[in-house]
């Protein structure tokens, strides 16, 4: 208790706390929204499994975060990783963390929702083939070994933050962290069995659009809450979260028209994500007009990667690299050019005469992808030594819903025979072996 009483000087602000309570709930909604978005993009026989990977993150990652992840990310420690002072939420109480005006406990919960979402994002690389059990293990370990470390670098007083890298809401840990980890995960787990031979079509484009819409809605809490207050930075970030995705969307329409003569719905859903991702690191640092330009700029490289990636052997199934890794990379570098001290009160970018900021951003844009890729690659290889990461070809053909969960997303119920509760275990023992 001594630490709690010593730090009494920091005041809790009621308005800030009210907004952050709401923002935390908004960000939490993004994980089931992502589940819906991803579920629509896969084949119908893998709907539930794909959604469940996001649901799994809600369980596993929240626990890992409370036990050790938060401490490794936000406790003082070395430049590389935080200390163990906040393990088991030790000393995380109502007294605000230094530099904030909200209860420390709320700060922890808000950051937890980021970690959950980011882990769920990585699942997009391995859906339709990775076994559920190993994914649970991966999700827990990844949130601690990769997300918490990158969050410490960018937010928790780690070396990137000390260096002067600006990252408002998670270009480093969330976007580049998930995108480049997804690439590594796709390489380790390997392509789906008929990848490159058969067409895999999204089974429900409406899910994809609704999921993208809910993600955008939640993103107002994600970016708008990353100022931890109701101050100017938060208002700027909130507004930019409206402007950038709108411009990315419009740009995507044009690119679709030029390339295929038709504006596509799944392309539009993707564009919303790319715009939200692009503004994430820059949200509180660039003017609204530059944020609109960022929407245009961020769409181009991500669009290119989405077009080119399926021509490779890499089955990074739901294009997490293109939508998050590449757009996050663009956003981080964009700050280096167009940050404006008049708007953010902190630092200018290159065109406002501060070339050093671009250098700081470039360091992050190299270091974060490198760490995310290498650590995820090693982690999955390690888990793969103990248990197979992927289902057999036959199970993959049957669909992960039946094989992993014993349920179907679109069960008709025709021919289903009710098993009496007392004989339920017998039936399962008999048929479970199939």
């Amino acid at each position: 208790m001594s630490v709690l009483t010593l730090a009494q000087a920091a005041e809790v602000n009621a308005g800030d706390t009210a907004w952050m309570l709401a923002a935390t709930a908004l960000v939490l909604l993004m994980t089931p929204a992502l589940g819906l978005f991803y579920a629509g993009l896969v084949r119908s026989k893998n709907t539930l499994n794909t959604f469940m990977m996001s649901v799994a993150a809600l369980a596993v990652v929240t626990i890992a975060w409370a036990l050790v992840g938060y401490s490794l990310a936000f406790d003082e420690g070395t430049g590389f990783v935080g200390g163990l002072g906040h393990t088991f939420l030790n000393d995380v109480g109502f007294v605000p963390r230094d530099g904030t005006t909200i209860p420390h406990l709320l700060f922890m919960a808000f950051q937890a929702t980021f970690c959950i979402l980011t882990t769920a994002l990585v699942s997009g690389a391995v859906v339709e083939r990775m076994r559920f059990g190993p994914f649970l293990v991966f999700a827990g370990l990844w949130s601690v070994c990769v997300y918490a470390v990158l969050a410490h670098w960018a937010f928790g007083g780690g070396w990137l933050q000390a260096n002067g890298t600006l990252d408002f809401a998670g270009g480093v840990p969330v976007e580049m962290g998930s995108g480049f980890s997804a690439l590594a995960a796709a390489l380790v787990v390997g392509a789906r069995k008929d990848y490159g031979r058969q067409a895999f079509l999204p089974h429900n484009a409406v899910f994809v659009l609704v999921g993208a819409g809910l993600l955008w809605f939640g993103w107002f809490g994600f970016n708008g809450g990353s100022g931890f207050s109701t101050g100017n930075a938060s208002v700027l970030a909130f507004t930019n979260t409206l402007l950038t995705p709108a411009c990315a969307l419009m740009t995507w329409f044009v690119l679709d028209l030029v390339r295929g003569r038709q504006v596509t719905a799944i392309g539009a859903a993707t564009a919303i994500i790319v715009g939200c991702v692009g503004i994430t690191p820059a949200a509180g640092f660039v003017s609204p007009i530059w944020a609109m330009v960022l929407g245009v700029v961020a769409a181009l490289p991500s669009y290119a990667v989405i077009v080119l990636r399926p021509r490779t052997r890499v089955d990074e199934t739901l294009d997490v690299l293109a939508a998050h890794g590449i757009a996050g990379f663009t956003g981080i570098l964009f700050i280096g050019f167009f940050a404006q001290a008049d708007w953010n009160g902190l630092s200018d970018g290159l065109i406002y005469g501060n070339a050093a900021q671009l250098a700081d951003q470039a360091v992050a844009a190299v270091a974060a992808p490198a760490y995310a890729f290498a650590a995820t690659y090693a982690l999955l290889r390690l888990i793969g030594r103990f248990t197979p990461l992927r289902a057999t070809e036959r199970e993959e053909a049957l669909g992960m819903d039946i094989v992993q969960h014993g349920e179907e997303a679109y069960a008709t119920g025709e021919g289903a025979i009710l098993v009496a509760p007392d004989s339920g275990t017998d039936a399962r023992a008999g048929a479970g072996a199939r």
Partner: protein
């Protein structure tokens, strides 16, 4: 002239399509059906309710062919659909009385022979 009906696992339908294509059997239709062929029941659980799924999803191929294509069509179905486990499906071959191609009015063998690609 025969109608070859093949009932196969849905997850093998694509393999069958490829095998038919290789055997140059080009005209057919497919539908999703449910059936039971002696395989073990699948058990699923929904909110505490455990059910035995007595019917399995299958895909039914209907292929009308001239006599010389009967065996290639059967071979293609077997090759594409076989997993060596119970539940691979069945093939039924039944005689066809008449076939008419609606567009031209051609009948019988002429009607089941695919139009050469122009």
């Amino acid at each position: 002239m025969k109608l070859v009906i093949g009932i196969v696992r849905p997850e093998k339908a694509n393999d069958v399509l490829e095998a038919l294509y290789r055997a140059e059997v080009r005209g057919f239709s497919i539908s999703r059906v449910q059936g039971h062929g002696g395989e073990l029941d699948r058990v699923e659980t929904y909110r505490g309710t455990t059910v035995k799924m007595g019917l399995s999803e299958k895909v039914r191929f209907e292929i009308a062919v001239s006599d010389s294509f009967v065996q290639p069509a059967i071979d293609a179905l077997c090759e594409g659909a076989r997993t060596d486990e119970v539940g691979d499906g069945k093939i039924f071959v039944v005689p066809l009385e008449r076939v008419v191609r609606i567009r031209t009015g051609e009948t019988d063998d002429l009607a089941v022979t695919p139009v050469a690609k122009s």
